[in-house]
């Protein structure tokens, strides 16, 4: 058991898979010799060499296209897109190519690859380097989408993503890179499509993702101590496949649902879950499901402004307290 940062967990997860399987290769901008702009891939170039860990030009289409061609013909590429906002310049591969090739070819082709990216706000980078784009990816049939919140989950879900036969979008949160967590020694492999109850409770269910998990947990603590509200917090972890069983099971127990989403409000991932709960668990609910999201605006850069727009523990506490009428 060792304490590891989320950043170092990325490198350890990649290294674990590259050491296991010589078909795993890694490419992206500044990822090799420089160790990544977030220093999340330090040491991989030295350990695995220039044939397996490759720096690319600033060519996001070439990066994702090359990953796809390699995946179709037998490799298991991990591609890095430095900031998830840049998905917009290579979205053809994410929306049209990776997820549709197998279907259109009636199952002839395969696309086992992972796209890692730095997602989310908190670094004051402004509206083009801070977005949470998980909802951009979740809406596309044929993709899998995961977003770990802890160093342990980074390794386990990354391993699962690399071993998965489908294209997986792996969203690392930039504001979590410096956070730490306990990680056991040895090989770690998790399962895609599994949510995790990170705090059991009986009065309401809070579903959260990535950076928002720690905020939901902080809010749950305040709600418990100051208001006597016992929240169950679920780290959704995997948007596709979506572990609706865990979420519906929790709602059946607590009878209330709150989502905490960093993505802007319209078509955020929580909306889909609320819709599923409304369809399938309406009579389990004692009150309306409530979504706590970033407002539907581009993100501002300044400290005080960015802090105001992201869901905070205080906003979560206030929303839940008011909704539950206590």
């Amino acid at each position: 058991m060792a304490e590891l940062t989320y950043r170092d967990a990325v490198a350890r997860g990649i290294a674990q898979e590259m050491a296991r399987d010589p078909d795993v290769v890694f490419l992206g901008e500044d990822v090799a010799k420089a160790g990544g702009v977030f220093k999340a891939t330090v040491g991989l170039y030295e350990q695995f060499g220039p044939l397996r860990v490759r720096d690319t030009p600033i060519s996001e289409q070439a990066i994702l296209g090359a990953a796809m061609g390699a995946a179709m013909t037998g490799l298991k590429p991990i591609a890095e897109i430095m900031f998830s906002d840049f998905f917009a310049v290579c979205f053809d591969y994410i929306a049209n190519e990776f997820p549709k090739s197998r279907y259109m070819s009636n199952g002839q082709t395969k696309c086992p690859l992972v796209v890692r990216t730095g997602n989310g706000a908190g670094s004051r980078f402004g509206a083009q380097h801070s977005q949470s784009v998980e909802n951009w990816c979740m809406m596309i049939p044929g993709l899998k989408v995961v977003a770990p919140s802890t160093p342990l989950d980074v390794i386990g879900l990354l391993a699962a993503a690399v071993r998965d036969p489908d294209p997986v979008i792996f969203l690392e949160h930039k504001s979590l890179y410096a956070t730490k967590g306990e990680v056991p020694d040895g090989e770690i492999v998790d399962t895609l499509g599994t949510a995790k109850i990170v705090r059991p409770g009986k009065d309401c269910t809070i579903i959260a993702l990535a950076l928002m998990v720690s905020r939901a947990l902080a809010a749950a603590e305040i709600l418990q101590v100051e208001h006597g509200i016992d929240c169950e917090v679920i780290d959704v972890r995997s948007l596709v496949p979506l572990d609706t069983k865990t979420i519906l099971g929790s709602v059946a127990k607590t009878h209330r649902l709150f989502s905490v989403e960093e993505n802007p409000r319209l078509c955020g991932w929580g909306a889909e879950i609320v819709s599923i709960v409304a369809d399938e668990a309406f009579y389990d609910l004692d009150g309306p499901p409530v979504r706590i999201t970033t407002p539907h605006i581009p993100l501002p850069a300044a400290d005080n402004l960015e802090d105001l727009v992201l869901p905070t523990p205080a906003r979560i506490v206030e929303t839940i307290r008011r909704s539950l009428g206590s």
Binding site: G69, Q108, V240
Partner: protein, 342 residues
């Protein structure tokens, strides 16, 4: 390998490097592409081919020339104008017409359609309907060959219009810096959809005039001469297999039909089509065979056997059922299904 039998009549003065056997294969392939696509057009007029379709009538020498230079294991990456390239790798006409006719015997059982023909067993790694998307993908397949020490070449076909989209330039630079075994083939048929390519491109030769920007040789060839295409392909493949990197080849040609089935091509200047029809690749090649002493009977026998394949395929497709509804939900994910939740 050239044999005595392959050689042209002594003293003909003609280059006999290709040999009779390969020349007959090149001819047969071109006629087959022509007949199959002409049939697709006829079936469209009968409302039996649905959706859109983009024909390569007039451009057959490029597909045939490259495919005949490829060996098993080499990979083709095609565009939405991909019928010819798919057929040229040996995919049965019935499979292609079946897909165009939305039948269960189609190459992808009606799940892909005309613009996405794919036959992995023949090395046809897909037809891509987003302009430029497959150039980086071909780079990736070539990267795999380079990394694993495989000797196959990835061949990526596209039109003149593709040279103005970003992915073209990203892929060329990427292939050049990584020295990938990929061959980029631009079929310059003079029109970007409905617009003359010269009206929207800063240079005369949309592909070749950009080659120097990526440290590549400037190559422009007659895309209506299957021999020239074949020789150029062989040279580029040898270079790729030797680890000497990518090639970019611009083939000058002309499509006899409109951009897609919806396009009567009224934007062409009067007489242009007629002028190019004098340089019809099949007409050129038939004359070439005769110069090399191939008999009319041999040529007619090839024509007849091709026509029979196309006729048989047409009847088989007309008799084939439509795809069953249950395949709507298959092969979204690798487990064969479409489940996105538990």
């Amino acid at each position: 390998m050239s044999t005595a039998k392959d050689r042209s009549p002594a003293g003909s003065g003609l280059n006999d490097d290709i040999g009779e056997q390969k020349r007959l294969a090149l001819y047969r392939s071109q006629v087959r592409l022509r007949e199959a696509e002409q049939r697709a057009f006829d079936l469209f007029l009968q409302n039996l081919v649905k959706g859109t379709s983009h024909l390569s009538l007039g451009q057959e020498a490029i597909a045939a020339g490259f495919a005949e230079a490829m060996v098993k294991g080499d990979l083709s990456f095609c565009t939405y104008r991909g019928h010819a390239h798919t057929l040229a790798r040996g995919v049965p006409v019935e499979k292609v017409l079946g897909e165009l006719m939305q039948r269960d015997n189609g190459l992808m059982r009606g799940k892909g359609g005309s613009m996405h023909l794919t036959s992995e067993e023949h090395g046809v790694m897909g037809s891509y309907a987003i302009i430029g998307a497959h150039l980086p993908i071909a780079c990736g397949a070539a990267w795999r060959a380079q990394y694993k020490g495989d000797k196959d070449v990835s061949v990526c076909f596209f039109g003149d219009g593709t040279t103005n989209i970003g992915a073209f330039h990203e892929a060329l630079n990427f292939a050049a810096i990584w020295k990938l075994p990929v061959v980029f083939v631009c079929e310059n048929n003079l029109y970007m959809e409905y617009t003359p390519i010269g009206d929207v491109t800063a240079v005369e030769h949309p592909a070749a005039d950009r080659a120097s920007a990526y440290g590549l040789e400037r190559i422009v060839i007659d895309g209506n001469d299957a021999d020239e295409v074949y020789r150029t392909a062989q040279k580029a493949f040898a270079k790729a297999r030797a680890g000497e990197g990518p090639s970019l080849i611009e083939c000058m040609t002309y499509r006899h039909s409109g951009h897609s089935r919806a396009d009567p091509a009224k934007y062409r200047p009067e007489g242009e089509l007629e002028k190019w029809k004098l340089r019809d690749p099949i007409k050129i090649y038939r004359e070439r065979l005769k110069q090399f002493g191939v008999s009319d009977e041999t040529i007619s026998a090839i024509d007849a056997s091709v026509l029979k394949e196309v006729d048989d395929a047409t009847e088989a497709c007309k008799a084939a059922p439509v795809p069953p509804e249950e395949i709507i939900f298959t092969d979204v994910y690798a487990n064969g299904g479409w489940a996105w939740r538990n």
